[in-house]
């Protein structure tokens, strides 16, 4: 009976019930979707990473391409090799990768066992791939072996994997930031649920008070309310979870494949659905408890306190003290969390203060300001949620744009030229050089030699990677440097060096720094003339000109980067390969078509970025929906006073304008409040998390054009809410509200 009375509120306001359920469901969907997406991304990345770091190709010593017979022989020798058959396709996928699921245990470094499943495209069973290959599509079979596995039998040898493009830490960093984003999403949605709930509760206070006067104990009442909330949460969590999974599936349809493509690795379907569900459930329980806490304390709907702004300021300060000098990720995350919490606590009061009217304002403007103050108080939680959500969206946009720019630039640098050819083991460069110089169809080319060098620093000798190339090549000179002396390329050609950002940071090197470089036991003091970005791996690297390599230098890996002449003058790729094969007198060459890889990588990353953006937009959408719902409820509760404006002679249009102006000011205020949050978050993501985690930074960029887009969106929302609040038959106020002490200011 009591339950019926408690629930009777929703009989009169079914929309409120629907709204609460909807917000619970949507929030769950967001959690489970984000959980699933980030989890998926992380798993595939981990799998990809372990394989990249520990994977080598097995090739035949006689240079002939490997076949299925090689595979069988190597397996019969007890080697854990697995086949990888890449076949071009005509469709948009570009290629499929044939794998043998029965052999894939080896890809994880496990010699035995199976229980392995994969994510579908681009992976197919190797028989299917072989069938395509047989029907005339170009195909490459590779055999991979785990690093450190037993020595190879006679007739085969190991080789690095030139086909793989390691984006290594760039992707890691992206994933880390995706995690941080996921955390924010949870925070924001928790705020939203709570705000919708407490607002609804505030509206029921009268009827609940009535029940109390009829003799229902407060304790009993709260238990009923808690029960009601839990039932609603339970009803929301399952469809929400499924919705989120569906969403993740749709969004990740390309995502899993994208990473798989990029890393040429399997994607483990981790069977985490149960964990994901449990995590979602636990989060929901926590949020419900958070809402319930107020119920039990009996101060539902009144969460503002004079101490909040002070506490907020203290938190922000504490957070900054943590973030700025932070050396560990945990500290950065913790500090950022404190700053966000502080911002959340301060914002409503700060807005109230900023919007406080001056005594000389025109009275109607003064009225708007005063109403704004009321809104800021009543909608404190959804306001903060929307502020954080918008801040997140701004940060994610900046981050993604930055990543995009960086990634493309990096790709351009790394994939300069049209073709990348590996110099066969034991063959000198000279014959190829002669042949290339004789070809009109070759626009330009340069060699890249990789090896090791010693770095004499403070008396100790440190080993770093060495990259040597022809630094007069225009392809190299297109590189943009992070920092440099005035004529870096000339200095480089004269014998000085460039270092990558990792090395520069680690050894505190700047353009102009001196260091002792030891190559092939020959020591020489050189000047650092520039620093270049190098996102692929953690190792420090020194770049020198080939002309300054000492005679005894032995390179670990040699390749040629070749730019073909455009148009009819250019040689075809197959002619080029044939020419080089003839020059070196070898049967087959490892050739990488940079354009294909470039296209593939770009497509993949675009997809990934689109996904990340969609997560942030979903968050914004949820926050927006919550704000619309709560805003509408709050504005409806002000209907009498809006009616008074009519009674005092404002025309319908004037009233609508006034109210829309009110909502617009409110939204713009949130937008303004979101900007510093967004900038701070961007800064933390780009300038704190990356250096701490990886040793390099991304360029920090802000995008005011995007802020304006967001502002437009907010403005649109304001018009909608304003329209809703000022429409309907509110000209003749029929029911005056009760005045609540202290609720209006």
């Amino acid at each position: 009976m009591i339950l019926r009375a408690v629930l009777s509120h929703y009989r009169r306001h079914p929309l409120q019930l629907l709204a609460l359920w909807l917000i619970l469901t949507l929030a769950t969907a967001l959690w489970s979707g984000v959980w699933s997406l980030t989890g998926q991304a992380r798993d595939s990345m981990t799998a990809g990473d372990s394989q990249l770091s520990g994977r080598q190709q097995v090739v035949r010593s006689d240079g002939a391409p490997v076949t299925v017979a090689d595979f069988a022989s190597l397996r019969r020798h007890g080697l854990c090799v697995f086949p990888w058959l890449q076949v071009a396709t005509d469709d948009a996928r570009g290629q499929v990768v044939g794998i043998d699921p029965l052999a894939m245990a080896c890809s994880r470094g496990a010699a035995t066992g199976s229980g392995f499943s994969m994510d579908g495209q681009p992976f197919v069973d190797i028989a299917e791939a072989a069938e395509r290959a047989a029907s005339g599509h170009s195909a490459t079979l590779r055999l991979y072996v785990t690093k450190g596995d037993a020595s190879l039998p006679e007739g085969w040898q190991r080789q690095g994997d030139p086909g793989g493009l390691s984006t290594g830490e760039l992707s890691d960093s992206f994933l880390l930031n995706l995690d941080a984003l996921g955390l924010l999403v949870v925070l924001v949605s928790a705020l939203l649920i709570r705000s919708v709930y407490t607002l609804g509760l505030a509206q029921r206070r009268e009827s609940l008070g009535l029940l109390e006067r009829y003799g229902v104990t407060r304790r009993r009442l709260r238990l009923h309310l808690l029960l009601e909330l839990m039932v609603l949460a339970a009803l929301g969590v399952v469809p929400g979870y499924l919705l989120g999974q569906g969403l993740a599936d749709v969004l990740a349809g390309g995502f899993g494949a994208a990473l798989g493509n990029l890393f040429e690795t399997d994607l483990l379907a981790t069977g985490e659905s149960l964990t994901g569900f449990l995590v979602t459930l636990v989060m929901m329980i926590l949020v419900v408890l958070w809402c319930g806490l107020d119920l039990l304390r009996g101060n539902a709907g009144r969460t503002r306190s004079k101490a909040h702004p002070v506490m907020g300021a203290v938190l922000i300060l504490a957070g900054m003290v943590l973030v700025v000098p932070a050396q560990s990720l945990v500290t950065v995350f913790l500090g950022t969390g404190l700053v966000l919490a502080g911002a959340g606590l301060m914002t409503p009061a700060l807005l109230g203060w900023c919007l406080s009217p001056s005594p000389h304002m025109p009275p109607l403007k003064l009225w708007r300001r005063r109403e704004l103050g009321v809104l800021a108080g009543r909608l404190a939680l959804p306001l903060v949620a929307l502020q954080l959500a918008a801040g997140t969206v701004i940060a994610v946009h900046a981050l993604v744009s930055t990543f995009e720019g960086t990634f493309h630039e990096w790709l351009d640098q790394r994939l300069a030229g049209d073709v990348f050819v590996e110099v066969p083991e034991g063959k000198p460069l000279a014959p190829a050089a002669t042949w290339l110089e004789s070809q009109d169809g070759v626009a330009q080319w340069h060699p890249v030699l990789r090896g090791a060098a010693g770095l004499g620093m403070n008396g100790e000798n440190r080993q770093v990677d060495l990259m040597a190339t022809d630094t007069t090549s225009t392809l190299i000179r297109q590189w943009s440097l992070l920092a440099s002396v005035s004529q870096p390329w000339q200095a480089l050609a004269d014998g000085d060096v460039l270092v990558n950002e990792q090395l520069a940071r680690r050894q505190d090197l700047k353009p102009g720094s001196q260091l002792t470089l030891v190559i092939a036991d020959k020591e020489r003091v050189v000047e650092v003339v520039g620093v270049y970005a190098d996102y692929g791996r953690p190792a420090g690297e020194v770049l020198v000109d080939t002309r300054h390599l000492p005679d005894g230098f032995v390179s670990g890996f040699r390749s040629l980067t070749i730019d073909l002449a455009d148009g009819s003058g250019g040689v075809s790729r197959s002619d080029l390969v044939a020419g080089l094969e003839a020059a070196w007198q070898v049967g087959s060459l490892q050739v990488r078509d940079n354009e294909t890889i470039h296209r593939l990588a770009t497509r993949i990353f675009d997809q990934t970025f689109a996904l990340t953006r969609s997560i942030s937009y979903l968050t914004l959408l949820l926050a927006g929906v919550a704000l619309l719902m709560t805003g509408w409820v709050v504005l409806r509760s002000r209907a009498w006073y809006f009616g008074l404006l009519s009674a005092w002679g404002l025309t319908h249009r004037q009233r609508r304008q006034t109210i829309t102006m009110l909502t617009a000011e409110f939204m713009v205020a949130i937008w303004v409040a979101a900007l510093p949050v967004g900038i701070a978050l961007t800064w933390v993501l780009v300038d704190r998390i990356n250096p701490v985690a990886f040793g390099w930074t991304l360029p920090m960029a802000i995008y005011p054009g995007y802020w304006l887009e967001l502002l437009l969106l907010f403005g649109l929302a304001a018009v909608v809410v304003g329209w809703l609040a000022s429409s309907g038959r509110t000209e003749a106020p029929v029911q005056a509200p009760r005045l609540d002490g202290g609720q209006e200011r």
């Binding site: 009225w367 005092w648 004037q654 003749a732």
Partner: protein
């Protein structure tokens, strides 16, 4: 005699699910400038509806009316709003004030809308016994003080006609009399028309005339 309000043959009914329910039929009365009229009758007799009609918030089914010399049939919604803004003051039983604004700010707002200067605002408040309470918010003063502030707002706009709907309905007898005193004193000195809907017969007695809607609306 200059007429403030002239109503003739006014009919109004509400549509409910089971058909039209008449509120009043063929109602006619006149109000001279400076005259006060009490609308009495039980709940549901149409007092509030009539006030709404007289300030243009609700329409009528039949009949004609003139308010402050304007023909009600020809007035647009915006013209009605203009009348309410400058010439017709409305007082409700409660919640006449914007809750987020001080008493003074409320009065200023009303005066400003009516195009009056803010100057005498404090005077009006002081004259209504609200001196020293100017910076209080509506929920920080008593119900009687709120109603007096509502009167101050009406006085500040300087209307030609005041429509008051149970202006003392939620006050105790003593306070009610104080508020009524202020209202009638002002109305008489300003020579403005007043239509006042009330249950309170004593209050109705203080008006120049009385129109009992329960008796069929014959004034």
């Amino acid at each position: 005699m200059v007429t403030s309000v002239n109503v003739s043959g006014l009919s109004k009914s509400y549509n409910t699910g089971s058909g039209a329910v008449p509120v009043f039929l063929d109602l006619s009365f006149q109000l001279a400038a400076g005259e006060s009229l009490a609308l009495t009758g039980p709940s549901g007799s149409g007092k509030s509806t009539l006030l709404n009609i007289l300030c243009g918030v609700e329409g009528v089914d039949d009949g004609s009316m003139q308010v402050l010399g304007r023909d009600g049939a020809t007035l647009t919604a915006d013209q009605w709003a203009g009348l309410r803004r400058r010439r017709v003051g409305v007082v409700f039983q409660d919640s006449n004030l914007m809750p987020a604004m001080t008493l003074e700010e409320n009065v200023k707002l009303r005066a400003d809308l009516a195009g009056r200067s803010f100057g005498p605002v404090r005077d009006w408040l002081a004259r209504l016994g609200l001196a020293g309470l100017e910076q209080r918010y509506p929920d920080q003063v008593s119900g009687g003080q709120r109603q007096r502030a509502a009167l101050a707002m009406v006085f500040a706009m300087g209307p030609d006609l005041v429509l008051a709907d149970e202006p003392t309905g939620s006050l105790d007898r003593h306070t009610a009399r104080d508020v009524a005193d202020a209202l009638f004193h002002w109305q008489r000195t300003q020579g403005c028309g007043l239509i006042l809907a009330t249950h309170d017969l004593a209050l109705a007695e203080r008006c120049d005339r009385r129109l009992d809607l329960a008796e069929g609306g014959q004034g």
